[in-house]
């Protein structure tokens, strides 16, 4: 009897706890999460319900404007822009996340180790990071793509590596500052006196205590990755047509801007709303974790 009671009460109580937690979150976090959930849902399920294929021509009369059948219009080649935007979603999101994740991994390891070890190694690492940061991030991305050569252009893996290259030094600088702060704590001294190697101190002492900083940093960077990928696509150095990447679509349809603005504004809306969602989420997350975040410091 009592067991049955517990079973009856527990789920509803849990639901109430979740709801309480949700209500306590800052407004920006809640709105941001909702936008992100919509984007993720579209990214995952989009390929199953998008009415047309991403390179399917003849979806409608070319350059016909907005209509119920084609919410973002039809481009020059007769492709449905809405379907292309929906099908491009997972490409933009997965490349952004993969690039940021790789940059985070490299940046966190380099930054935490260099901040903890200190001395001349830290001095050298700092100089190298500063040199990489002083090349504007778009310029750095462009010369990295130029160095990879024409045979790799348009390769999604190259794009992930480029995002990581741009972000790793910036994340490393952040992680280094955090490591220097954490390294003064008693538990780190104890670990060092125990005879732990730098690597294990990083894994077991620095990393768990820097999670907050790194999480906010990750969210902040992930918010700009779609813009970076879009900018590269826009300039013609990112993914290749007919990939439905949003920046590339904006660049392709720019000539149609006056005839059919929705073919540009559609992918633009998708890109901007994704970044707004990520920014709100980041701001809220920072507030939950008790940190301040300066949005827009690229």
């Amino acid at each position: 009897m009592s067991e049955a009671n517990i079973e009856l009460i527990a789920p509803s109580q849990m639901r109430r706890n979740w709801l309480m937690l949700w209500r306590q979150m800052p407004l920006s976090f809640r709105i941001g999460s909702l936008i992100l959930v919509v984007h993720l849902l579209v990214a995952v399920t989009g390929p199953f319900w998008a009415p047309y294929g991403y390179s399917q021509m003849g979806a409608g009369p070319p350059l016909s404007g907005m209509s119920l059948a084609h919410p973002f219009g039809v481009d020059q080649l007769g492709r449905d822009v809405f379907s292309r935007v929906v099908r491009g979603s997972w490409i933009v999101i997965s490349l952004s996340l993969a690039g940021t994740l790789l940059g985070m991994l490299i940046g966190a390891i380099v930054g935490l180790l260099s901040g903890y070890v200190g001395g001349w190694i830290d001095e050298i690492v700092q100089r190298v990071l500063e040199a990489l940061i002083s090349i504007p991030f778009l310029v750095l991305a462009l010369i990295a793509i130029a160095a990879a050569g024409p045979e790799y252009s348009g390769n999604p893996v190259l794009l992930v590596l480029v995002v990581a290259l741009v972000y790793a030094p910036r994340i490393a600088r952040m992680a280094r500052t955090a490591a220097i702060d954490i390294a003064t704590r008693d538990y780190v001294t104890v670990a060092r006196l125990r005879g732990e190697k730098a690597w294990s101190v990083m894994c077991w002492e620095l990393l768990p205590n820097a999670t907050g900083v790194l999480l906010v940093e990750f969210a902040l960077r992930a918010g700009y990755a779609p813009v970076l990928i879009g900018s590269l696509g826009f300039l013609g150095f990112g993914l290749r047509p007919p990939t439905p990447e949003w920046g590339l679509m904006i660049s392709e349809n720019r000539a149609l801007l006056i005839v059919c603005p929705s073919t540009v504004l559609g992918p633009g809306l998708a890109l901007a709303s994704l970044v707004v969602g990520l920014n709100l989420f980041t701001e809220g997350l920072a507030r939950v974790l008790g940190r301040t975040v300066k949005l827009g410091t690229q």
Binding site: A131, L142, I143, V276
Partner: protein, 316 residues
């Protein structure tokens, strides 16, 4: 004395950073790709053409000697020759840098009112509808990629309010008015992108300053609202935004690449994209080095200003 040591240290560190940038740029563009001549001319180039280009680039020397030679050229102002037009790189760069400089100055002139006015309005009407509305606007603009903002401005001014040209083509024969008209849209795009970062920061700084004791004192003395704001609050709130302005300058160097491209404005950024497409190595290297130089100098100046303005360092 201590202060001068700090400044000299910063200058030396900046020089080291630039040296590392040069090594990075050179190795990424000329050493990593293997045979640069094949890279430039493509797989189906004739052996004669390859040989000629190798000689022109000095590829028969070791990469270390080529690097030192190139670096020496950079330091003495000899940037080499373009591979495409065989004009000297400095001759190609000079008008582009002038155009971008003019664009940047114009953008900064627009940036100041675009930053100060919304921030002051927000700070004075704190937590009222205007404040919230402006916060939402700055957040949306902050999240909008610059190429999208530029495209939307283009649409607005070409289609709905047709007063400004869509394509900002200018050359030596253009008059000042033509120049200004051509530069307005790209400059406005850059100014808006820069301003949204600064507005959010200046608003918070202003609110903090307006809550301080000396502002209350000034108000109690019976000074007018405008005088308190302009004479007492704004100058103090503006100091921390100096840093953001240095960051904005750094953004500007990257931002012109995209924004100039949208409007086909013949500046430094378009030159970089064009020479990347043509694989014109000497021009690419020179533009990247100049971008890094501007970034490093801007940061150096901001740091020196911070050192000089910080009273705690004065006596140390």
């Amino acid at each position: 004395m201590q202060i001068w040591l700090l400044i000299v240290r910063r200058i030396v560190l900046s020089a080291v950073t630039l040296l590392l940038v040069s090594a990075f740029v050179f190795s990424v563009l000329e050493v990593l790709p293997g045979d640069v001549a094949t890279r430039i001319l493509g797989r189906d180039a004739t052996p004669e053409a390859l040989l000629l280009l190798r000689e022109q680039l000095g590829l028969n020397q070791s990469s270390m000697i080529r690097y030192i030679h190139w670096l020496g050229g950079l330091l003495t102002g000899d940037l080499g020759r373009s591979l495409v037009s065989s004009r000297s790189v400095s001759e190609i760069l000079a008008p582009r840098i002038f155009n971008t400089l003019a664009l940047s100055v114009y953008a900064f002139l627009l940036y100041l009112p675009l930053t100060v006015i919304p921030a002051v309005v927000q700070a004075l009407k704190r937590d009222m509808a205007v404040d919230h509305a402006l916060s939402v606007v700055t957040l949306v603009l902050l999240s909008m990629p610059d190429f999208l903002l530029a495209t939307i401005l283009l649409l607005a001014f070409v289609l709905w309010i047709p007063v400004l040209p869509a394509i900002s083509l200018v050359d030596d024969t253009s008059s000042y008015v033509e120049y200004l008209r051509a530069m307005t849209l790209p400059a406005a795009t850059l100014a808006i992108v820069m301003a949204v970062y600064a507005v959010r920061m200046l608003r918070d700084n202003l609110i903090e300053v307006l809550d301080s004791d000396y502002i209350r004192m000034a108000e109690l003395k019976g000074l007018s609202r405008g005088r308190v704001l302009l004479r007492h609050a704004l100058p103090n709130a503006l100091v921390p935004t100096l840093n953001v302005t240095a960051l904005n300058l750094a953004y500007l160097i990257g931002g012109v690449v995209v924004v100039e491209r949208v409007f086909s404005y013949p500046g430094f950024g378009t030159l970089l994209v064009d020479s990347l497409q043509l694989r014109d190595l000497p021009v690419i290297e020179a533009t990247v080095m100049i971008a890094a130089l501007v970034y490093v100098s801007a940061n150096l100046l901001a740091d020196i200003a911070a050192i000089l303005l910080n009273p705690r360092l004065r006596t140390a």
